[in-house]
Assembly symmetry: C2
Homo-oligomer: 252 residues x 2
């Protein structure tokens, strides 16, 4: 069986008790740091915590060379550890699909994901998030198109920031967007740094002002707010994200 | 400190190792089954696993009588255990807001949430999910409005099903929607039952056909698909959710 186990958001202790037990009992344990990263730990600490030697998978092991892993999982329990919740990265669903097509069973042990963590950290209502997008180092209109689509239905936009060749900071992401369309800088956003750690940083302001805010170390993500806020969302952003008073005019 | 700890999706072993350790070391441990439920376990098993006596909170303890918990947390570590990831329910962010306003520190230990789990179980791309909504036993146009908004930007809609007075089944939810607007029955959807368990059930078809499909025990959620699917989403739905061949016409 091919077992995808989420490691959660920050360090080795964010894995679920069930995931830990399955990793300890598996025939082979692999990990991939390509689709996301755990900033609060490293391979050695993870190996010590789980009590197993872990093989690090490269992108190619998950994609063009996925044969090896799938065929090993036909008769043995192979665990793939991933940061966050597995399958948020399309790479994982492609691998799971290929395994199931070949008759190799798969299972998923879920874990915390940035998707739901942003709601907790910001106080923004989960049901008001629209489509999400990634800001890549290679500029693209896609994130702007998604923001505009979401604004048209009064939805927030969660923007992931590129990890390669280095983790993008909130500042970088906003600058990339503003180079394509400067008007975006007037929108309100919330930056979230180090979700899942003991010192997350959450700050709300107009995007053009967030460029000057020091969020500290990555990983960072960015939320662009919808045109209207629920009163409770505004209250939470004031207290949790030091939002400016002028944000109140968005309350519907 | 007021510590919100997510319990994940199914049973007592879905809590993270970090969450378990914090619950074991807290001065007081509470749990609430109001905003969501863990169907794969019960209070006794959770108490045994954590090794602590746990106080069950009613809705009123979280809302109008929240004073007691907040003031206890001023000098002691009070844990509130919740199914899923904390803060997805607005009740939790309201409680956290009130605590922080009074100068009582709060922290969140994240866990798996149905939001990200549906991506893993269905193969649908996370970035294509739009706003979500709840289908209540008391009929409302809101879920239909949200579906239509999401369709206008080619986004999927995750629909939660009411838990009170009893957990709504996928069949009930679709019937409630179709009584308001029968045309909705022609849209394609994916029903997901028992996410996080060892026997989740995932089935894709037109909504009017899903009414006759037996998903088994709750909890259930429902996704209404966008007008267009990515080719990989279609492939995954065929393999993971036994989707009908006619779904292929949605592939863009």
């Amino acid at each position: 069986m091919l077992i995808f186990i989420g490691m959660g958001l920050w360090d080795e202790r964010d894995i679920s008790c069930k995931g830990l037990e399955m990793a300890r009992n598996a025939d082979e344990v692999c990990i991939e740091f390509y689709t996301s990263k755990l900033m609060g730990t490293d391979l050695k600490r993870i190996e010590r915590f789980i009590g197993r030697k872990i093989r690090v998978l490269e992108r190619g092991d998950l994609e063009e060379r996925c044969d090896r892993i799938i065929e090993t999982a036909r008769d043995r329990d192979v665990v793939i550890l991933t940061a966050g919740d597995p399958m948020i990265a399309t790479t994982h669903s492609a691998l799971r699909l290929e395994a199931e097509k070949r008759g190799v069973r798969t299972t998923i042990i879920h874990s915390a994901s940035i998707i739901s963590a942003v709601c907790g950290l910001t106080g923004l209502h989960n049901y008001k998030f629209g489509k999400s997008a990634t800001i890549s180092w290679i500029p693209s209109r896609t994130p702007l198109d998604v923001i505009n689509q979401n604004l048209s239905i009064n939805a927030h936009t969660l923007l992931y920031l590129d990890l390669h060749p280095r983790p993008m900071l909130i500042r970088d992401g906003i600058e990339i967007l503003m180079k394509i369309d400067g008007r975006i800088g007037d929108l309100f956003g919330v930056g979230i740094a180090r979700a899942g750690s003991t010192n997350p940083d959450v700050k709300c302001d107009r995007l053009k002002k967030l460029i000057d805010y020091d969020f500290g170390d990555p990983l960072h993500v960015l939320v662009v707010l919808s045109k209207k806020l629920h009163f409770m969302e505004f209250e939470c952003l004031k207290v949790f994200a030091d939002a400016p008073d002028e944000l109140e005019k968005l309350v519907e």
